[in-house]
Amino acid sequence: MTTKRGRTAWVLAALAPALFLLALLIGRYGIRIDETFRALFAPESVSDVIRALILRVRLPRALAAVCIGANLAVTGAAFQGLFRNPLVDSRILGVSSGAAFGAALALLVSAGTIGLQASSFAFALLAVGLVCLIGLRFGSAALILVVGGILVSALFNALLGLIKYVADPLSSLPAITYWLLGGLSDVRWATIGPLLALTGFGLVFFLVVRWRLNVLTLSESEATALGVRIRGFRTTVILVGTLLIASSVAVGGIIGWVGLVVPHVARAWVGPDHGRLIPVSIGLGAVTVLALDTIARTALPSEIPLGILTGLVGVPAFFLLFLRFLRVRGEAR
C-alpha cells in the first residue's frame, strides 16, 4: 500500500520539473524549448527579448505560482488537521479578509506595489493576531478560534466594503476589484523576495514537524497526555501558516479553493498521515497553481484572473471528492 502510494508520489515529483519548464516555454510570445534552456543556462546566447521574457517575467512568475500553491495547500492541510475539520481552509482565521482590506487600502491611496504588499501582509497578520488575542483572552479552544476567525473576517469584509464605497469608481475601484480576483500578472523579481524567503522557511518548518502534526488531530487532553505542549505547538503552526498565507496573498491576491481542495485530493491519495500528507500537499498545490496560472495567462487573448480559474476548477473537484466521500459512507448514490 505504502509502496504504491510512494511510487505515485515519485511520478508527481518527476512531473513537476517538466511542468515548470513547460510554464516557461509557453506563452503568447512563442519560445522554442532549446531557447528556453539556453536562456536559463547560457543567457548570453539568446536574444534580449527572449532572455528578458524568460528570466525577468516568466521565471519569477512561475516561481511565485509554485510558492503560492505550495503555501495554500500545506497550510490548508495543517489547519484542517489542527481544527479537526476537513472543511476548513487556510482562510479560516481571517487572514484573507485582512489581506484584502490591506491591499484595498493601499490601492485607495495609490501606495505602489511594495506598499500594497506591505499593507496586505500587515493586515493579514493583524487579522490573525486579533483572532489569537480572542483565543488568549477566552481560552484557545478550536471553536473559539473558529468563531473569532468568522468575526474578524466579517469585520474586515465590512471595512473592505467601506473602502470600495469611497473608492474612485473610475480608477481605484476597478483596481481593487481586479486585485481581489487574484492573479500573478504583476509578479517581478523585485516583488517576490519576501514570498520566496518565507516560503522557504515555512515549508521547511512544516516538513520537519510533519509527523507530529498528527497529534494536533487529537483532543487537547489526549495530546497533552502524549507529552506534547499542545498550545505552544498549535500556536506555532498557526503562526507559520499565517506567514505563508499572508505572504502569498500579498503577492497573488485572493486565490480560493486551493487550500481546501488540494489537501483533500492529497488525503484521498496517500491517507491522513501528515508524514505523507504534507509533502504530497506541497507538491500537488505547487503543480496545481502553476498549471492553472499557465492556463490563466495563455488560454484567452487576455489574462483570466487566477482566482476565477481556481474556483472554476476547485468547485467541481470538491464536489466529486465529496460525492466519493459520501459513497464510501453509503450516504449518496
Binding site: P86, V215, S221, L226, V228, G271
Partner: protein, 257 residues
C-alpha cells in the same frame, strides 16, 4: 509503579471545586474503578492523575515525584490516558492511531522508524489486534477501537493507564473483551484507573473501587465491600437492590416501584 493523588482539589471556575480533597493511589497490577454519577468529577480526576490538569491544591505523585515537575515527555512514557472512544474526523489506520502513542519517544522534528513500528506491533499483539493494523480506524467496531486506544497507551510505554468510561458504547461481549484484556495486562504488572458508570462492572472486574460523589471520595476499598445500597443511594440519588451470591454482592439493580 505507584501513582497517587494526595488531597487534590481542582476547579475549572474559581469557587466551584470539581474535585475536593481527593486522595487515592494505585500500584503495579492494580485495577481500580472510580464510580460516580454524571458530573461527579471522574474525567477531571483522570486528567489530574495524567498530569494534563494541575490541581489547585494537593499533589499527584508518580513514584514519589510530583507529576507537574516531571518533564512532559518523560511523564507520557510512564502514564497514559485512554480516552472515551469517539468518531475521529480523519480515516487513520489502526496502526497509525497506535503509532501516535510513540510521540513522547520522538523529538519534535523526528518521524517514527522501524523501532516505533515494532513497538506498535507489540502493543497490538498485547490487545490481540495485530490483524487489524492496516484497517481503517473509523471502520472497525467500538470494541476494537477501545482495544486500539489501549494499545496506543501501551505503545507509549506507560505502565499505568487511565481509562475514561471504556464500557461506554460497548455491548456486554465487547465490554468483557476489553476488561479481560485489562485483567491480563494487570497480571503482567500494568496498573489501571478506570472510570465507570457501571457498578456491576466494578463488581466483576475491579480489585478496588472508589465512589466519587460530588467531587469527594466517599468510599474506597474492595468492590464487594463498598457497593452497598447506602452508597449507591448517595451516589446516584435513587434506591438500588444489591443482588448477593455465595461470594457476596454480585450485581445491582435500580429498585423499581
Amino acid at each position: 509503579m505507584r501513582l497517587a493523588a494526595e488531597a487534590i482539589t481542582f476547579a475549572y471556575v474559581p469557587g466551584r471545586d470539581v474535585l475536593r480533597d481527593v486522595t487515592l493511589a494505585v500500584g503495579a497490577g492494580d485495577v481500580m474503578f472510580v464510580l460516580g454519577a454524571n458530573g461527579s468529577g471522574k474525567t477531571t480526576l483522570l486528567d489530574c492523575l495524567a498530569g494534563v490538569r494541575i490541581p489547585r491544591s494537593g499533589r499527584v505523585l508518580l513514584d514519589g515525584d510530583s507529576i507537574d515537575r516531571i518533564p512532559t515527555a518523560e511523564r507520557a512514557k510512564r502514564v497514559g490516558l485512554v480516552p472515551q472512544i469517539h468518531e475521529p474526523v480523519f480515516d487513520y489506520t489502526v496502526g497509525e492511531v497506535v503509532l501516535m502513542g510513540r510521540t513522547p519517544h520522538l523529538g519534535l522534528f523526528a518521524r517514527p522508524g522501524r523501532r516505533d513500528w515494532e513497538a506498535v506491533d507489540r502493543a497490538l499483539d498485547a490487545v490481540g489486534l495485530r490483524a487489524l493494523r492496516g484497517h481503517v480506524y473509523t471502520e472497525i467496531s467500538g470494541g476494537e477501537r477501545q482495544l486500539a486506544l489501549i494499545a496506543r497507551g501501551l505503545a507509549q510505554g506507560a505502565a499505568c493507564l487511565l481509562m475514561d468510561e471504556p464500557a461506554a458504547h460497548l455491548d456486554p461481549r465487547h465490554q468483557h473483551a476489553a476488561f479481560a484484556t485489562v485483567a491480563r495486562l494487570a497480571s503482567d504488572g500494568f496498573s489501571f484507573v478506570i472510570t465507570s458508570h457501571q457498578p456491576n462492572n466494578a463488581l466483576l472486574y475491579a480489585d478496588r473501587a472508589a465512589f466519587l460523589i460530588d467531587g469527594r471520595i466517599e468510599q474506597e476499598g474492595a468492590p464487594i465491600e463498598i457497593v452497598t445500597e447506602e452508597t449507591l443511594r448517595s451516589a446516584y440519588g435513587i434506591e438500588f437492590d444489591v443482588i448477593t451470591g455465595e461470594t457476596g454482592p454480585r450485581a445491582i439493580l435500580p429498585r423499581v416501584t
